[in-house]
């Protein structure tokens, strides 16, 4: 019976002709747009996560503590929530680092009468601590330390990147949603056309006592089939675009996002897109079914 119903759905799809093709193309377009934004968003997210790992908060100290005091201070900071690691940087180590940075101009530092650089603590954050709220809380706590003179660093710029990513997600979802509605309406039109073409068959089916499931399931399956074909085509479009454009975008991606290469959508995301396409089509088929209730 299921084979017969699927056969009827395929037959209906062929009958819908150009309208079915238009519905499939619109589904392809909406899912390709959605998938495209998803791909960019995923990579921005990867970049943000990578940068978040490199975030440091620097606690500049009023005066250089004795070794034992420095160790005690490190332990106190280490115990604060959201702190992953704490490293004490003495004044001399800071000056050494400056000289390394200055390179051949390091002699400038040697001419200084005294070392002007403060001792400091380099604090890295845990995954939970690397949110703007948690980082602000930690900075507030670090500011209360008697030894602290000034606090540098933070993750506000990463937050701006995350906001950009969210904006990208919203744009992607909005464009995808508009195209998805268009796809649903086109599938509905294609299914309604098939209903019109099949009215004699439906009449016969009802006349001989076919169950409503048998009468209506091919319409739903036809819509789902259109959606699935559209989704497969959208994924194919994304793969082709990724294969062609990916290598060419590598330098740009490396400079802007700090990633070696663009990452393609995960298998899970591909499955979600295919499921979404099938459901989009099913929705269209279902709507047509509702409108043609005899």
């Amino acid at each position: 019976m299921l084979g017969f119903l699927i056969g009827e759905a395929v037959r209906d799809l062929r009958r819908a002709g150009r309208v079915a093709v238009a519905a499939i193309l619109l589904t392809t377009l909406s899912l390709a747009a959605l998938g495209g934004f998803w791909l960019v968003s995923t990579n921005v997210g990867l970049a943000a996560a990578r940068w978040r790992d490199r975030v440091r908060i620097i606690v500049y100290l009023r005066r250089e503590p004795a070794t034992a005091d420095a160790q005690a201070l490190v332990e106190r900071v280490q115990a604060m929530p959201g702190v992953a690691t704490v490293r004490y940087v003495s004044k001399s180590e800071a000056l050494g680092t400056l000289k390394q940075v200055l390179g051949k101009d390091a002699s400038v530092a040697e001419q200084l009468p005294t070392n002007p650089l403060p001792a400091s603590l380099e604090v890295t954050l845990t995954a939970e601590g690397a949110t703007p709220e948690a980082a602000r809380g930690l900075i507030a706590r670090l500011s209360t330390l008697n030894e602290a003179d000034d606090i540098g660093g933070g993750i506000d710029w990463i937050e701006r990147l995350a906001r950009g990513r969210r904006l990208l997600d919203i744009i992607g979802l909005s464009v995808g949603a508009v195209l998805a509605v268009a796809a649903i309406l086109t599938v509905t039109t294609a299914t309604t056309l098939v209903l019109h073409l099949r009215r004699q068959e439906l009449e016969i089916m009802r006349l001989v006592g076919a169950s409503e499931v048998v009468v209506r399931l091919p319409l739903l399956l036809q819509g789902m089939l259109q959606g699935l074909v559209g989704a497969v085509m959208a994924i194919w479009v994304l793969i082709v675009a990724y294969t062609i454009a990916g290598p060419r975008l590598e330098p740009l991606v490396s400079q802007t996002l700090g990633l070696e290469r663009l990452t393609f959508l995960s298998t899970q995301t591909v499955v979600v897109l295919m499921f979404a396409g099938t459901m989009l089509g099913g929705c269209g088929g279902w709507l047509a079914r509702g409108r043609t209730e005899p």
């Binding site: 019976m1 004699q200 009449e203 016969i204 006349l207 001989v208 006592g209 076919a210 169950s211």
Partner: protein
């Protein structure tokens, strides 16, 4: 098998109420062959549509196969219709399917096991003398052949009751005679038949109990 008690069917056309059937009562027993005779517009089709619940009566009781037809819902309606074969004046064959496929289609939608379909289709086609035309499309059939194919489709399900709505209405005398003979054969096989016709000659040729409708009223029950 069929029992109607004081059945009325009134259609509302805007503010005007048009009675299609007025106070119709009769009973048809199992295995009977009954002709329903009346001019066009006398209410024959409406009466048949009430029997397979394509219409609901405005008033009155209708029992078919021991089922209270007006009270049936959803699946029960489908169940009733599975026991009834219906043929129409215009055959209603599906144009994109062959004769074989037209008959097989109804068996498939009713979930008949695949292995049973072909033998049952050919049994039905043999019964109407159409097995040689199994692969023909409806457009390639004469009107008589199309009507025989519709009969094959109706009997392939082995219905207990056959409702024939003017099956000879658009056929010439020879073709009509062929169809009548086939319907009589089906009846001889044990199926109860209600045969609607506006043709007095056909009613006479059937030589069976005849119910006569005039303007929606049952005026005669004879034979």
């Amino acid at each position: 098998m069929i029992e109607l008690h004081r059945v009325w069917k009134v259609f509302a056309v805007g503010p005007v109420k048009v009675p299609a059937l007025s106070d119709v009562s009769f009973r048809i027993g199992k295995g009977e062959f009954v002709t329903l005779h009346g001019a066009s517009g006398s209410g024959k089709t409406t009466l048949l549509r009430l029997l397979y619940r394509e219409e609901l009566p405005t008033e009155g009781d209708i029992d078919v196969l021991d089922l209270d037809v007006p009270s049936l819902r959803g699946r029960e309606v489908a169940g009733l219709r599975r026991s009834i074969g219906v043929v129409f004046q215009d055959a209603k064959l599906l144009p994109g399917r062959t004769v074989y496929e037209n008959v097989a289609f109804v068996l498939r939608v009713l979930g008949t096991p695949r292995r049973e379909i072909t033998p049952r289709v050919f049994d039905a086609l043999r019964a109407v003398g159409l097995s040689a035309r199994a692969q023909a499309y409806p457009a390639q059939l004469s009107q008589g052949e199309a009507q025989r194919a519709a009969l094959a489709r109706a009997i392939a399900r082995k219905p207990l009751l056959l409702l024939a709505d003017e099956p000879t209405g658009s056929l010439d005398e020879t073709m009509a005679a062929e169809v009548i003979d086939i319907v009589k054969d089906i009846w001889a096989g044990g199926t109860t038949v209600l045969f609607a016709t506006h043709q007095a000659a056909v009613a006479a040729r059937l030589r069976q109990r005849t119910l006569t409708l005039v303007s929606g009223r049952l005026v005669k029950d004879e034979g």
